[in-house]
């Protein structure tokens, strides 16, 4: 599903480059990415999702070498194949929870919202317990509710790859467990791969594999 080789990336103005010699994830596999703050976990997710483009190396996702795609093609590829669950929710405050969840589908070329999409939203909201909140604005929601809404948005398009950046970072233990259970359950049903950044050791056992980014990367640069 994912194959990264000899990845090298340097932030503008930074002298130190991040290098990932090799990293791969099988289709349907779930991986927990761990490591200290600033070690490059989020950077690796952003490289895999195509938000960042590596200076060197190859990133193959579902057979597509995304580093060689043009910006528009890369965006389009992400929209169709990757479900993102960011740490800070990234919900638009002027859209209702329902509209936020449907947003990735609206951004697609056709952008038409069909009954099946609506049903999918209802189903995800039911599973995450936010059904009564669907017509509310995000500003009226608690942190946990927002995170669940962001998770629903990441899953709504049934993507083959789900990238989650500390989606449980702001949650209490009960909610952490609920979110991860739902994420893995949905991924299992869709046979999607999951890469999730987490700092919560109690969650490690829920994943097929745990990768420490420090062991993945190799310090480079001058």
């Amino acid at each position: 599903m994912i194959f990264c080789r000899k990845l090298e990336f340097r932030y503008p103005g930074e002298s130190v480059a991040l290098s990932f010699p090799e990293f791969s994830v099988e289709a349907g596999e779930t991986v927990a990415l761990i490591g200290p703050s600033g070690c490059g976990k989020t950077t690796l997710l952003n490289l895999i999702s195509g938000i960042l483009v590596p200076d060197e190396g190859v990133i193959e996702v579902g057979g597509e070498q995304i580093q060689s795609l043009e910006l528009a093609a890369r965006q389009s590829f992400r929209l169709r194949n990757i479900g993102l669950v960011p740490q800070n929710f990234e919900l638009l405050d002027y859209l209702t929870v329902r509209e936020n969840i449907l947003l990735p589908l609206r951004l697609l070329d056709r952008g038409r919202i069909e009954k099946a999409h609506e049903n999918r939203v209802e189903e995800l909201a039911e599973k995450t317990g936010i059904s009564p909140l669907l017509n509310k604005l995000p500003s009226r929601l608690s942190q946990g509710e927002r995170q669940r809404a962001a998770l629903c948005r990441g899953l709504v398009g049934k993507p083959p790859l789900i990238l989650a950046d500390e989606p449980t970072g702001n949650l209490d233990t009960d909610n952490q467990d609920r979110i991860v259970s739902l994420l893995l359950e949905e991924a299992g049903a869709l046979k999607s791969s999951v890469i999730m950044i987490t700092h919560e050791p109690s969650l490690y056992g829920r994943f097929d594999r745990v990768e420490n980014v420090m062991s993945l990367r190799m310090e480079g640069g001058e």
């Binding site: 910006l71 990234e90 638009l92 002027y94 859209l95 951004l107 952008g111």
Partner: protein, 393 residues
């Protein structure tokens, strides 16, 4: 990139930030509306005033403001202006150079001017009757279409003149006048006027009156003169406030009719030569003024348009400043929305789509403001006759 998604996001953003949207739309609407409204309304007022002026060759009145004289004769405003004796109208008629149509537009019935004139005025303006006929005697009136409509009156109803001041016991008393005709609408100030015989206006002014015959007055209504052949009546004699076929004979004037006032005389020369002659005749007269309404309008609109040009220039500057502020608002909004756009980019929205989103929002605000200004302009133009009446009087 899809249009429905763009429309959805853009419209939801504008609706979600409705205060900002309403302020921007209102500001831009004013930018488009004000210059357009001023230009169009000024054009309408000019058209209205000029058409009336072009139909009226010359106006004779007391020397003073030529513009006030023109407005009094053409629009029945400026009732307080100085009068001239009716004799002057007769002189014009006797000169054989022109037809003279006297007008006395000083009094009101509610918000409508009472215009004392002769039947010549009806012929001059080529009035058609929606109902009834012209006045045949004192105390009858012909009302314009707007007067009839506003007061829901017709032939056989009454119009009562308004007293000039409520507590002036020696002033103008209300006169009850019978409506004998209703004019077809002409789209001119005539629609708003109540036309009466010239003598009726003099009666309203108190220059003529009607009461029981002195010989029939009782002792209580007489003053002691010491001479049985001379009968003087005291103030207890009730004056008639309505001229009916029964009382019309009792109405009389105590001075010379020629000395009674008129506010203006419409002078209609019989030809170009006669016009030149009559203009020459009044050129050297100090206390009278013979004005050409069309020339007065030229002068008025020269001033109006020079002021309008200055106002429009200023409005353009204000408009440009408003547009610049609007643009600044969008640019600042773009900065404030960095997080939102980053989220959309992360999700898969291309930079082009984000630019299109901003463009859509700006275009929507512009389009809505233009649409709103067109609707308001259309409403304003449909109200133009009322506005012109308010502006012109």
């Amino acid at each position: 990139m899809n249009w429905s998604g763009l429309f959805h996001l853009g419209s939801r953003y504008l609706a979600g930030n409705r205060t900002k949207t309403i302020l921007l739309v209102s500001a831009f609407t004013l930018v488009w509306l004000l210059p357009a409204a001023i230009t169009l309304l000024a054009g309408k007022v000019e058209e209205h005033l000029r058409s009336r002026a072009d139909e009226t060759p010359l106006v004779l009145g007391r020397a003073g403001s030529a513009l006030e004289l023109t407005f009094n004769a053409l629009h029945f405003t400026k009732p307080e202006m100085a009068t001239l004796p009716y004799r002057e109208a007769l002189k014009v008629a006797e000169s054989g150079l022109a037809q003279a149509i006297p007008l006395y537009a000083r009094f009101h019935a509610g918000s409508h001017s009472i215009v004392g004139t002769t039947f010549d005025y009806f012929r001059f303006r080529e009035f058609d009757y929606a109902e009834g006929r012209a006045f045949l005697r004192m105390g009858e009136c012909v009302v314009g279409s707007a007067v009839a409509q506003a007061n829901e009156i017709g032939v056989g109803d009454y119009v009562i003149s308004s007293p000039e001041t409520l507590f002036d016991l020696a002033g103008v008393y209300p006169l009850k006048m019978t409506v004998c005709g209703v004019l077809e609408s002409t789209g001119s100030p005539d629609d708003e006027a109540v036309f009466v015989d010239l003598k009726t206006t003099w009666i309203i002014e108190g220059l003529g009156h009607g009461h029981i015959a002195a010989a029939e007055a009782g002792e209580d209504e007489r003053l002691e003169t010491g001479n049985e052949n001379v009968v003087r009546l005291n103030a207890s004699v009730v004056e008639y406030n309505e001229i009916t076929p029964e009382t019309v004979e009792s109405f009389h004037f105590h001075g010379e009719e020629e000395d009674n006032p008129v506010s203006a005389v419409i002078v209609v020369p019989f030809g170009a030569k006669e016009q030149a002659l009559i203009k020459g005749r009044y050129a050297g007269v100090k206390d009278l003024s013979l004005v050409e309404p069309a020339a007065e309008m030229d002068e008025l609109f020269e001033t109006v348009f020079s002021v309008q040009r200055i106002v429009l220039g200023m409005l353009v500057l204000v408009g440009l400043a408003t547009l610049a502020l609007g643009l600044l608002t969008f640019l600042l909004s773009y900065r404030l929305r960095t997080g939102e756009f980053a989220s959309l980019r992360h999700m898969g929205a291309s930079p082009r789509m984000l630019k299109a989103l901003i463009g859509f929002e700006a275009a929507f605000v512009f389009a809505l403001s233009i649409l709103l200004s067109v609707v308001l302009l259309w409403s304003l133009l449909s109200l133009a006759p009322t506005l012109i009446r308010l502006l012109v009087g």
